[in-house]
């Protein structure tokens, strides 16, 4: 027996505008992971990610009619909303964000130095990289999160950030260079 096809995002948004609760639940369950992870990777805080996820879907609840497929994918639409909330919360908490911590955990270590890497568990390395990503300025951090962590293509990332694809490429290039630089700096500190 053929299963009925799952409704498209566009159909769900239309139903949400008409106060269809099951459509809202389907839409939420389909996309909450994307929004939550984006917010978590941008802020590094689960409580912020939770708050942003809630805020994003509140917006969807109130303005589902406003989504225009011609302006980009649903993922781009949702991350675009999430980004505004994340940047607002980063701005709010700016005095408390650690931009650089030379005395803290090493953010990264050079490849090839197996002895040093052996001392760290995989989780510790991930935590270190997470800190390095979170220490990036927001404009660089968001391209790393979108392209490297969320695996959006450049065109989608450009759509979310409202900039040219070339800008995404150059920011990503610069962001990766900053991360590698931080790896080297931390390596020197260890030595």
């Amino acid at each position: 027996m053929l299963e009925s096809p799952s409704p498209s995002d566009h159909d769900l948004l239309r139903l949400i505008a008409n106060r269809d609760e099951s459509a809202f639940l389907t839409f939420y369950r389909r996309h909450q992971g994307l929004v939550y992870r984006f917010a978590l990777q941008m802020s590094g805080k689960t409580e912020h990610a939770e708050e942003v996820t809630q805020d994003v879907f509140m917006v969807v609840m109130g303005s589902a009619k406003q989504y225009d497929p011609a302006r980009g994918s649903v993922a781009a639409y949702l991350i675009g909303i999430a980004r505004n909330f994340v940047l607002r919360s980063l701005e709010r908490d700016r005095p408390y964000v650690v931009l650089d911590d030379p005395d803290g955990e090493p953010a990264w270590r050079l490849a090839g130095e197996q002895d040093a890497l052996d001392d760290l568990t995989r989780q510790e390395r991930i935590e270190s990289l997470k800190k390095a990503v979170l220490a990036l300025p927001p404009a660089y951090r968001e391209v790393v999160v979108l392209c490297d962590l969320q695996e959006l293509d450049y065109a989608e990332a450009a759509n979310v950030l409202g900039c040219a694809i070339g800008t995404i490429r150059s920011r990503l290039h610069r962001a990766r260079a900053l991360l590698i630089e931080k790896m080297r700096t931390n390596e020197r500190c260890v030595v």
């Binding site: 996820t53 390395r125 997470k130």
Partner: protein, 162 residues
């Protein structure tokens, strides 16, 4: 791509797969509650606006049904028409008092505590039912008026825009 780049990308791939992948269940629960609350408010708003329109219609219908019996004989007996009493209520901002002519049955209703003013078009003949003398030739013409509704949705007074 050099060794550093390769190492970085591998690390980023691990980071992408690290940590919770979904929002906690309480977020869904809160959103569903909010969705239901909004749906309820929307339904109530629709009912309230429907109810207000029905209340106006009912008030006016009752008023027009009662009024000829109360006021028409008076009009025939005397050329001097006494205007209906005035109701004074504060404007929504609370700064300016608004005066309305009391409707015939308004004195039997509870005092206005929470007023709503609705602009409507009434046939000129309604003025007669409230106590005004009108030109009978223009009785079928419409006149713009503000109707004062009480907290129960029942009309208490009227004032004429023109």
């Amino acid at each position: 791509m050099n060794e550093n780049d390769q190492e970085l990308l591998e690390g980023l791939r691990s980071l992408a797969n690290d940590g919770p992948r979904e929002a906690p269940a309480r977020v869904e629960e809160r959103l569903v509650n909010e969705f239901r609350r909004r749906a309820r408010v929307r339904r109530n708003t629709i009912w309230a606006s429907g109810g207000a329109v029905a209340a106006i219609a009912a008030s006016l219908a009752v008023m027009m049904w009662l009024a000829p019996r109360q006021y028409a004989p008076a009009r025939e007996q005397t050329a001097v028409v006494e205007l209906p009493p005035m109701i004074e209520v504060p404007s929504p901002s609370g700064e300016i008092a608004m005066n309305f002519y009391a409707l015939p049955e308004a004195s039997e209703l509870p005092p206005v505590e929470n007023a709503t003013v609705v602009r409507v078009e009434l046939p000129m003949s309604t003025l007669r039912s409230i106590g005004f003398q009108i030109n009978e030739e223009r009785a079928n013409e419409a006149v713009e008026a503000d109707v004062l509704l009480g907290q129960d949705g029942l009309a208490r007074g009227v004032r004429f825009v023109e």
